[in-house]
């Protein structure tokens, strides 16, 4: 797996995949996609980068430990539920905020989106931490 071609391409490939994963995450509310599948794509990007560049390099690039990222995901998802506390609605009610942009288009912000971002982070964190642990095991052998 450690060919020159792979090592050269992997960083660009990983960057593209992370970008695509964000796209999949954001279109998820009304079209196929969403936090879970987006998270899987991003986690595979991290895994590919780990195979090519080594796990230490990936951990340095991620800054935060993957499990901490997953923790942030759970936190954001819970916060999305707590938003409805302020409008006297039950837990987890979907709340929407439509912002008018200067060119006339609308930007829709919502608690389901915040929840989905939480799911995304949980999946990225959990899967990539498993992947990195497995790759680390291989390196030390």
């Amino acid at each position: 797996m450690n060919t020159v071609i792979f090592r050269t391409v992997a960083p660009y490939l990983a960057a593209l995949m992370v970008l695509f994963s964000v796209f999949v995450l954001l279109r998820g509310h009304n079209e196929p996609g969403g936090g879970f599948i987006g998270g899987l794509i991003a986690a595979s990007a991290i895994a590919i980068y780990g195979i090519a560049a080594g796990v230490d390099e990936v951990r340095k690039a991620l800054v935060f430990h993957p499990i901490a990222v997953a923790g942030l995901g759970v936190f954001l998802a819970a916060i999305a539920g707590f938003m409805s506390l302020f409008v006297e609605a039950p837990f987890l009610k979907g709340l929407w905020l439509f912002l008018e942009l200067s060119d006339g288009s609308e930007l829709a912000l919502s608690t389901p989106m915040l929840f989905d971002i939480g799911v995304y982070l949980v999946v990225v964190g959990a899967i990539s931490s498993i992947a990195l642990a497995l790759e680390e095991d291989e390196e030390t052998r």
């Binding site: 923790g71 759970v74 936190f75 819970a78 707590f82 609605a89 039950p90 009610k93």
Partner: protein, 532 residues
Amino acid sequence: MAGSASTPKNLDLPPAMIEGVTSVADWVIVWPIALPMLGAAVLLMARKRPEWQAPFAFVILLATLVANFMLYMRVQAEGPLTMTMGNWLPPYGISLTADALSALFSLVSAFILLIVVLFVQSEVETRENKYGYHSLLLLLLTGVSGGFLTGDLFNLYVWFEVMLIASFGLLIIGGRKIQLDGAVKYGFLNFLATTFFLIAIGFLYGLVGTLNMADIALKAPQVESGAIYAVAALFFLAFAMKGAAFPLNAWLPASYHAPDPAVSAVFAGLLTKVGVYALVRTHLLLIPQSHAQLQLVMEVVAAFTLILAPLGAMAQTNARRALGFLVVGGIGAMLAGLAIGSPTGVFGLAAYAVNSMLVMTALYLVVGLVERMGGTSDIRKLGGLYRANSWLSILFIVLVFAVAGLPPFLGFWPKMILVQAGVEVGNFWLVAFILLNSILTSIAGTRLWAHIFWRDGREGANSEQINERIRPLTTRAKVWGLLPAGALVAFIVVAGLVPQPLFKAGATAAFAIYEPAEYVGSVFGSLSAAEE
């Protein structure tokens, strides 16, 4: 459901969303689940700060306990409380429903976890802290409280999974060989039970077309097909496995001795009781007609569990494995209450569950301290602990009396109610088994006490010589270990001497199970009012 897809303008669908505002006071049912989950997430993020973990977990647990207490008081005063997630109307939205039974169990769980988190401070190394010990404990409480408070059958499955994952993590923290061995047995049988549960949910959905518990309670009694009994039998199999009833109890003593004593204490206190709770919920509230069909099976399972568990405890040389069998014996007593199936029986079951949660947790904590002093949990190598620490021996013998059900300790009262329930329905042989269980349990418990504390030294020829391997407890272990365990035992003693609160709690819990109209009303209150 008038209107068709081709004429969207003339749709006359009933409203799908809740109208009107939800009082912030109703959130009291969300906090017991959401707070520990939020706390677990924050602790995961703060994994590089081991010194923050314990204080933060303690604060979160204190807040959870207060929330649970408020929920309990509210349910006691006003009856079942429901909140349906996301503003959807039930049964479309997932409901959280607390009645007296679930609020009581959730309250006791939070109390136990608070004590255990204090106890943990006497032993956890920072390395284990880093691997998320405290966040897993909080996550476990999330799953347990969620299981108790949910009003949706599939959601109950999800909370079982949360519980399973958290307990799996706690079981293998430390990574010793024995822990992995225990985790495989624990994990395999629990996954199997969860699968049976899921299959049963699928069948039930096919029969009644809903997963909301209140909705099932309305629709399942009208199902004429015999398939509903197959569903009930599957539920019984799955939850009896989760609750470690005979003959599916093997996983419990095989795994509970493996992890840290504090972790075993939480497991013994909380996990099996969720299975028992689910049994009560499914067989007495959701599919009440199945109880008569399965009664004989329940009685036989309860009787065997009652007898074989204390016999198993007598045969053990590992103190914590023996305690595992005593946990199973308690499950037998609760199953006897379920098998009797009268309001008095459920009263006894609820009271016994509270007793078992408190007493088994305390027993594991005390044995954890014994292990710290003796360096082993093998009772053949222990001995002479009375001389070394008489306080510990007093705590242990009090707990043995409580678990066996000797008056005036806490375990006596639930057993008395169970016996009374059995006599009321004329089920004398089950009563005999309950009493026999008490005798055998007291033999098994006092055997442990005699071996660990009473004799001077180790087993065999050395038993007259003083055991020199005993190390006294460190100051840290005394402050954080002996004090929380002692406080819990003191609480148990006081609760045994003043049993009225337990009676009241158990009786209202049983009443709640036999008043499905109130349960259903709290979920569909607004809807049924609109239909009438």
